[in-house]
Amino acid sequence: MRVLVAVKRVIDYNARVRVKPDKSGVDLKNVKMGMNPFCEIAVEEAVKLKEGGSASEVVAVTIGPKAAGDTLRTALAMGADRGVHVLEDGEVQPLAVAKLLAALTRREEATLCMLGKQAIDDDSNQTGQGLAGLLGWPQATFASKVVVDREAGRASVTREVDGGLETLSLKLPAVITADLRLNEPRYATLPNIMKAKKKKVDTVTAQELGVDITPRLKLVKVEEPAKRQAGVMLSSVKELVDRLRNEAKVI
């Protein structure tokens, strides 16, 4: 069974996000970038499936500019067997990403697609669902546990839902998206980082894959959230009641 795992290069979750002065987007100049944390979890799960004998090969895929190649190397250092880099400098929206991944899934004859549940830059939470739709495959999103039964050709996926756990049984091939508690991604060790340098990475373009990636959504503007006002310490309950009544006018 071949697993295709998608990885996205995003702004580091600790980096300070600055909106461009013209509100056309986020300023990414000199900002620390790294693999989307949910993608990291997807890679870890795919590698575990291989280590556990359920998968025979893990192919990591990224879509983005040249620098996204670093993210692909990280996936390879974590244990993916080879990589495919869809080289695109411009904006690629979730639907286009899903189409590219669908094309690659067919080309690579993958039986399972692993993705993060969302990317922390745009928080769209659409790619996995879109991919399943385009392929006509069953999907299990927000996975917190994945068990693959190769013989039965099924995957059992546990999801955290409001008020408890839900377990789905899917017929493979399928699409699974990873939630935070699925696993704890491993560190890339030195020997594996070195090995990763020698692993094969194919570079393709959307055009070569026959996919139209023209944006369908128009971004109107990006704004910073309003600044929260600092709290005030009050000295007594009396003062609190007074303020609630006369200032906030809520009681």
Binding site: K32, E40, A77, Y187, I193
Partner: protein, 529 residues
């Protein structure tokens, strides 16, 4: 050879004093100090207003206990001024009445310096937290002494700069306390000690006089550089009320590696990792820390959320599972790509030569944060484990780990079972949580080792086995008995192991010039006369 210092302390302070003061036993109360009266509290109230004076025993208690749970004073009152003028008025009263005072910042000090020994009044900078200014041109940051280091770090980061120091207690310690202890920490390797980065200080002297040395000039050679005396004075010469400090520009890109090395020698020796790092990473190198396997085990067991960065190394390369040493190497530069290329080339060569067995490179800030949390969390993990005998020593880098091995041998022969005899925690032989444990970690690049002996409880017999042996060992190897934590109460009687009598005499006269009545942090830093 500097072994002349070995003979010093015994002659100098006398064995009787040694035995009394070196232990956790308190030196006797100096009866020249006044006892706190209700009338004093009334004066404090009138200076500080409501909320400024704490006398409720429950609320006072945490100010009387040190971070390790090793020392406990009997102070009855905590003063919490908000301004320099209030500090000045308080000290004027205390000196007029001859009331002893302990300045206290975040109370994270590790040598018992920040809490009363007897009934000293605690003067806390907890409410003096205002950021007074930041000069974007020079990076000079000015703040009240009680500002918490992590808060200042965040403020500097907002402005594209970084504080020149960082340490495991950054979320609680105050900049005034950092200056008063001349704290070192993980950035000293890159930015040097506080003696270089502190630009100016405002200090209130024992009599209440305000000494304004709060210049933020980079260069100022007018007369004696008095501020230097307060850096590392541990609250004995004056109360620091404000600090001006040079903040370097923040490096846009940092990279972090965690490495397993086969021996301490491989880490530092002539052809070791440290030297290779100095040569090949040069100006990029920003931290070079180490922990031994025992430290790692304690952190894994007692630090919530700690994670072994190399858990699977036993399956990949069998012997790394038993690697005795680990290094945390950080580089900071202006370009992510350049960093990565430099670090990888360096790691490839050191690993190729067998000096590094295995390692990981943090792929994002989360992983880097986890690795730092592990290294910086050892101190806290040890506290969760139980009592700690903590020795903050410096040596020539080549010799710095020797003391850890020597301590292990010494304990092993005195306690062959690995456990303290008698009392709590002595029972179950297999309960490793109660075993004596000797760990070593610290700032390798600066020759600073933290030797920690972890025990189920504080024990006089164990202490007598370690002290003064550890100080004698240190002096015999020309080391310092206090690399960065200071002397405080714990090591005041031991100063002679690292400083000659003439120096101690001069220190006494400096103390007398600044604080003639000796009311500021008595029983600390200098040995009893």
């Amino acid at each position: 050879m500097l072994t002349r210092r070995v003979a010093g302390p015994a002659q100098q302070v006398g064995l009787a004093i040694w035995a009394r003061a070196a232990g956790t036993l308190a030196p006797p109360r100096n009866t020249e100090f006044a006892l706190l009266q209700d009338s004093d509290l009334a004066v404090f109230d009138s200076i500080l207003g409501s909320g400024g004076v704490i006398t409720d025993p429950h609320e006072v208690d945490p100010y009387n206990r040190d971070w390790m749970g090793k020392y406990r004073g009997r102070g009855r009152c905590v003063l919490r001024p908000r301004s320099t003028a209030q500090v000045s008025a308080l000290l004027r009263h205390c000196s007029a009445r001859r009331l002893a005072v302990v300045p206290q910042g975040g109370n994270t000090g590790l040598v018992g310096g920040s809490v009363p020994v007897h009934d000293e009044v605690v003067l806390s900078t907890g409410l003096m937290t205002t950021l007074l200014g930041f000069d974007p041109g020079s990076g000079a940051l000015t703040a009240q002494a009680g500002a918490v280091l992590a808060t200042l770090e965040a403020a500097a980061r907002e402005r594209g700069h970084a504080m020149p120091l960082d340490l495991g207690a950054s979320g609680s310690c105050a900049i005034g306390g950092n200056v008063a202890t001349n704290a070192g920490g993980i950035r000293l390797l890159r930015h040097g000690p506080l003696h270089g980065s502190v630009l100016g200080l405002e200090v209130v002297l024992a009599g209440g006089q305000v000494l304004d040395l709060l210049s933020s000039l980079r260069k100022d050679n007018t007369g004696y550089d008095l501020k230097q005396l307060f850096i590392g004075s541990e609250g004995t010469l004056g109360v620091i009320t404000a600090v001006a400090i040079q903040c370097p520009a923040a490096s846009p890109a940092t990279s972090l590696a965690y490495l397993a090395v086969p021996s301490f020698k491989a880490a530092q020796q002539a052809h070791g990792v440290l030297q290779a790092a100095r040569q090949n990473l040069g100006e990029l190198l920003s931290a070079f820390e180490f922990l031994d396997r025992e430290s790692l085990e304690v952190a894994k067991q007692f630090l919530p959320g700690a994670r072994d960065p190399l858990p699977g190394s036993d399956t990949v390369i069998p012997y790394t599972a038993q690697a005795p040493f680990f290094l945390v190497v950080e580089i900071a530069g202006s370009s992510e790509q350049h960093n990565a290329a430099m670090l990888e080339a360096f790691l490839e060569s050191t690993m190729g030569e067998g000096r590094v067995l295995d390692g990981v490179v943090a792929q994002d800030s989360r992983q880097a944060g986890e690795i730092w949390a592990l290294r910086e969390g050892i101190t806290e993990a040890l506290r969760h484990r139980g009592a700690i005998y903590k020795y903050d020593l410096s040596f020539r880098v080549e010799e710095m780990y020797g003391v850890v091995g020597a301590a292990r041998e010494r304990l092993a022969s005195a306690y062959p079972s690995g456990f303290l005899g008698g009392g709590a925690g002595s029972t179950a032989g297999s309960d490793t949580e109660h075993a004596l444990k000797v760990v070593g970690y610290g700032h390798l690049g600066d020759g600073n080792v933290h030797l920690n002996i972890s025990a189920p409880r504080y024990d006089a017999g164990l202490e007598a086995l370690i002290e003064p042996w550890v100080y004698e060992f240190t002096a015999a190897h020309s080391g310092s008995i206090s690399a960065e934590h200071g002397l405080g109460r714990m090591k005041a009687p031991c100063i002679g192991y690292s400083k000659p009598p003439e120096a101690v005499r001069l220190m006494r006269s400096i103390k007398a010039a600044f604080d003639p009545q000796g009311i500021l942090n008595p029983y600390k830093v200098l040995p009893p006369e």
